[in-house]
C-alpha cells in the first residue's frame, strides 16, 4: 500500500507519460532503490501532517534565503586544552554569517530580524558543559542581535526542560534582561515522596500543561504510556503532542543552535533540536516515528515560518553514544555550520559524523532510513537534502 506521505517517483513519472515516452529519469541506483523502497515501505502511524503541509508559506519560511547552502567554519583555536576562547568563537560566528550572507555581520541582521521581533534562541542543554550548546556561541548571537537594535527583553533563550537550561548555565544571572524559558518542569520526588503530588494540578493534569497550546498539536496515532513516570516527563499522554505556547504565541523568529552529535546511526542536530523540543508527549513517538517527527513537527508553521537561522555548535562533537552525553566519544571539533536550511545542514552534519565514526572504527550502518526524514523534508519543500544540490562552503 502506498503511503500517502511519500511521493512515488516512478508512479509520478508514469502518470506524466515520461516513462511511457522512454524518457525516464534514470537517476542513480540509489534513487531507484529508494523508489522501490517506498513501494514496499510498511505502513506507518497516521499523523496530522496533511493538515499543515499546504498552509501558505511566508517570506521567512524555511529553507530561507539560502536553500541548500551550508557554511562550515573551522578554527583550531576555539577550543584548546579544554578551554573555550570566546573571542575566537565570536570571530567564527562573524565569519560564518558573512560567508552565508555575503554581507557584513551588521548588514546581515536585517536579512533575518525585524525591529519588533521576539527572537527565541533554541539551545540544546543536554549534557551540560560537556556537549551542550556553548554559552560563548549564545553570547555571540545575543551580541549580534543587540547591535542590530533588538532589545534584550525581546530575546528568549529556550528549550523544553527548564531545569536543563539552568544546569547548562542559561540563567538570568548569566543573561540579565533576557528571558530563560523552559516549556516544562520535570519534578523530582525525594525518597518516599509521592511524585504525583508534585507534578499534578487539581485537575489531575501536569502542572506544566498551562505552558502548552492545546489548539496547536502534532497528532499521531500512537498510544502513550499512562504511568505517572511518563506523564511527569512528558506532560501529556494522549495522541496529541502540544506545541509550547512560547513557540505558537510569543516567538516571531527562532535561531536554532543545536549541537553536533549522533543518535544511534543518525544524528541529533538541527531538525531534532526543534522537532523534539517544541512539543510535549514525545516519548511515545520514538519507536514508530523517530526521525519523521524531526520533519513533520518542523513543517508546522509555528516552526517552519520562524526558524530563520541554524548555527550548529560543533566546537565539541560526539560521534557515538548519543544523544545523551558520553564523554568517551566526545572530541574537539572546533567547527560550526551555518545555514538557513536545517535539512541541508543536517545532511552535511550527518555525513560528517558518519565519516568520524568510520575514522574511529565505530560500527556504522548507513541505511537510508537514517536520512529518509531529510529527503522527506525536501519533498515537503522544507529544505534541500540531495547532496548533489547542497552547496557546502568551507569558509
Amino acid at each position: 500500500m502506498e503511503s500517502r506521505f511519500y511521493l512515488n517517483r516512478r508512479r509520478f513519472l508514469a502518470a506524466t507519460g515520461v516513462i511511457g515516452a522512454g524518457m525516464a529519469v534514470l537517476g542513480t541506483p540509489t534513487l531507484w532503490a529508494q523508489d522501490d523502497a517506498e513501494e514496499r515501505r510498511p505502513e506507518r502511524p497516521r499523523t496530522n501532517i496533511d493538515s499543515v503541509k499546504d498552509i501558505p508559506r511566508t517570506r521567512w519560511s524555511i529553507p530561507g534565503a539560502y536553500p541548500g547552502k551550508v557554511v562550515k567554519v573551522h578554527n583550531p583555536k576555539a577550543l584548546v586544552e579544554d578551554t573555550f576562547n570566546a573571542d575566537v568563537i565570536s570571530g567564527m560566528f562573524t565569519h560564518g554569517m558573512e560567508a552565508l550572507t555575503g554581507k557584513s555581520l551588521a548588514e546581515s541582521f536585517e536579512l533575518f530580524i525585524e525591529p519588533d521581533d521576539i527572537v527565541g534562541i533554541k539551545v540544546n542543554p543536554v549534557g551540560a558543559g560537556l556537549i551542550s550548546t556553548r554559552l560563548e556561541l549564545v553570547d555571540a548571537v545575543v551580541d549580534w542581535l543587540e547591535k542590530g537594535g533588538l532589545p534584550r527583553k525581546n530575546i528568549v533563550i529556550w528549550d523544553r526542560f527548564n531545569s536543563m537550561l539552568q544546569e547548562a548555565g542559561f540563567t538570568t544571572e548569566r543573561y540579565p534582561g533576557i528571558r530563560i524559558v523552559g516549556l516544562q518542569e520535570m519534578f523530582m520526588p525525594e525518597r518516599g515522596e509521592d511524585a504525583e503530588k508534585l507534578f499534578l494540578n487539581k485537575k489531575g493534569e501536569h502542572k506544566s500543561i498551562v505552558n502548552f497550546n492545546k489548539d496547536v498539536y502534532y497528532w499521531a496515532d500512537v498510544e502513550a504510556p499512562t504511568d505517572a513516570q511518563y506523564l511527569n516527563q512528558h506532560v501529556a499522554n494522549g495522541k496529541e503532542s502540544y506545541f509550547g505556547k512560547l513557540v505558537t504565541n510569543e516567538l516571531t523568529k527562532i535561531i536554532n543552535l543545536p549541537v553536533f552529535k549522533n543518535t544511534g546511526n543518525g544524528i541529533s542536530v538541527a531538525t531534532k533540536n526543534l522537532g523534539y523540543a517544541a512539543i510535549c508527549n514525545t516519548g511515545r513517538l520514538h519507536r514508530p516515528l523517530f526521525f519523521d517527527v524531526c520533519t513533520e513537527v518542523v513543517a508546522f508553521p509555528a516552526i517552519r515560518d520562524k526558524v530563520v537561522l541554524n548555527v550548529t555548535d560543533g566546537l565539541r562533537g560526539q560521534y557515538d553514544g548519543g544523544p545523551g552525553p558520553n564523554s568517551q566519544f566526545v572530541y574537539d571539533y572546533n567547527t560550526m555550520y551555518f545555514a538557513t536550511d536545517p535539512f541541508a545542514s543536517d545532511m552535511v552534519c550527518h555525513n560528517a559524523i558518519v565519516e568520524k565514526r568510520k575514522q574511529m572504527k565505530v560500527d556504522v550502518n548507513e541505511h537510508p532510513r537514517f536520512t529518509d526524514y531529510l529527503r522527506y523534508g525536501e519533498r515537503l519543500g522544507l529544505g534541500i537534502a540531495d547532496v548533489e544540490k547542497i552547496s557546502l562552503v568551507e569558509a
Partner: protein
C-alpha cells in the same frame, strides 16, 4: 571547569525519577554496596546512592535504554564521590547474566584500550572507564578531561569490581570461525537494537530474537581482501530457526532485494549494490552482510555446529 560540570552531575542524576524499589532479585543482584568513602584518601560519597530498576532506566538514559533492556537489564546503581570540588560518578549496571553484561560492554566499549591496573576486561581514559565482571557492566565517569583523576578512577573501578562476584567465562564468543576474523570486532546480539549498528534487515525484531535468542557476530576479511560481517544466531531448535528464516525473507527491509533464492538460503542486494547471504542450518541462522561481492565468504566453509544455545534467555 569542574564547577561547570558539578551542576550537571548533580542534576542529571536528580532530574530523573528516584524510584527505589526493593524487589526480589530476578537474575541480577538486588543490592550493591558501593565503595565506601575513603576508597582513595579524601574522596567521599557526595550523596545517597541512586537505584533504577527495570523501566526506570528510561529516566536515566532517555535516548538509549532500549539496548540495555534488550540485553537483560535488571537494575542500575549510581554513586557519586567528591573531593575538593572534583567529582566522579560510578554506575553499576546489573544485568541478568554474564553474557548480558559482556554483550552490553562490547556494544559500549568501542575499540578497546585497556587500562593497566584493572584486571578485569576494561577500556577507558581520563573521561570514562568501562569494565565488565560477572553480571555487571560498570562505568566510572569523570566529567572533565583532566588526566590527573585517572589513577583515582582506576581505584574506584577496582573497588567496585571487587564487590562483584566472578562468574564463568562467556563461551559464546568462541563459536565464530577463526580464519579471516578481524580482532576486536566481536559483538553479541539479542535483538534489533544490538543489530542496528551493523545492518538493517527489516522492521523491528525481524530475526525474531525476542530479547532471548543469542547471536554473535564479527567482521571478516573475504577472499577479495574486503570486509564483511558474519552473524550467527542460535535458535533453540530447527523449527524456530526455520520460522525466523521465513519471517525474515517475507519481511525483508524495503531497501534489500532478493537476487537469488534456495529453499533454505537467499541472497539479497542492497541500495549500495552490496550483498547479503542468509542460510539456515539446523537451528542456526548464518548471515554474511555488507559484502562487496556476491560470493564473498570466509576462507573455508563455515559449518554451524548445529548445537542450539541451551538456554533461550538468562
Amino acid at each position: 571547569m569542574v564547577k561547570q560540570f558539578q551542576p550537571w552531575i548533580r542534576r542529571t542524576l536528580l532530574i530523573t525519577f528516584l524510584v527505589i524499589v526493593v524487589v526480589g532479585a530476578v537474575g541480577g543482584q538486588a543490592h550493591f554496596e558501593p565503595p565506601a568513602s575513603g576508597f582513595v584518601s579524601g574522596w567521599e560519597k557526595s550523596e545517597d546512592m541512586l537505584t533504577f530498576v527495570g523501566h526506570d532506566l528510561y529516566a536515566h538514559i532517555n535516548g538509549g535504554a532500549e539496548l540495555y533492556h534488550e540485553f537483560g537489564f535488571d537494575r542500575l546503581f549510581v554513586q557519586r564521590y567528591q573531593k575538593a570540588g572534583e567529582e566522579l560518578s560510578l554506575e553499576v549496571y546489573m544485568m541478568s547474566s554474564p553474557r548480558s553484561a559482556l554483550g552490553l560492554y562490547l556494544m559500549k566499549a568501542g575499540e578497546e584500550e585497556p587500562l593497566a591496573g584493572i584486571p578485569q576486561r576494561n577500556t577507558g581514559g581520563p573521561s570514562q572507564i568501562t569494565a565488565v565482571k560477572g553480571n555487571a557492566f560498570i562505568k566510572v565517569n569523570n566529567f572533565t578531561f583532566a588526566d590527573s583523576l585517572l589513577p583515582t578512577m582506576v581505584s574506584l573501578a577496582n573497588a567496585a569490581l571487587d564487590r562483584i562476584p566472578q562468574e564463568q567465562p562467556v563461551e559464546l564468543l568462541d563459536r565464530l570461525p577463526k580464519d579471516g576474523f578481524q580482532s576486536g570486532t566481536v559483538r553479541l546480539i539479542r535483538g534489533p537494537y544490538a543489530l542496528a549498528p551493523i545492518v538493517t534487515l527489516g522492521q523491528g525484531d525481524v530475526l525474531q530474537m525476542a530479547g532471548r535468542i543469542w547471536g554473535v557476530l564479527g567482521r571478516y576479511t573475504d577472499q577479495y581482501d574486503s570486509t564483511f560481517t558474519h552473524i550467527e544466531v542460535y535458535y533453540p531448535d530447527p523449527e524456530r530457526a526455520g520460522a525466523a528464516f521465513n519471517h525474515l525473507m517475507q519481511n525483508l527491509d524495503e531497501y534489500l532485494t532478493i537476487v537469488d533464492k534456495e529453499p533454505r538460503s537467499f541472497t539479497y542486494s542492497d541500495w549500495q549494490d552490496r550483498f547479503g547471504h542468509v542460510t539456515v542450518q539446523d537451528s542456526v541462522m548464518l548471515l554474511n552482510v555488507n559484502m562487496f561481492k556476491q560470493d564473498s565468504r570466509i576462507a573455508g566453509d563455515t559449518e554451524a555446529t548445529g548445537v542450539a544455545d541451551s538456554t533461550e534467555s538468562d
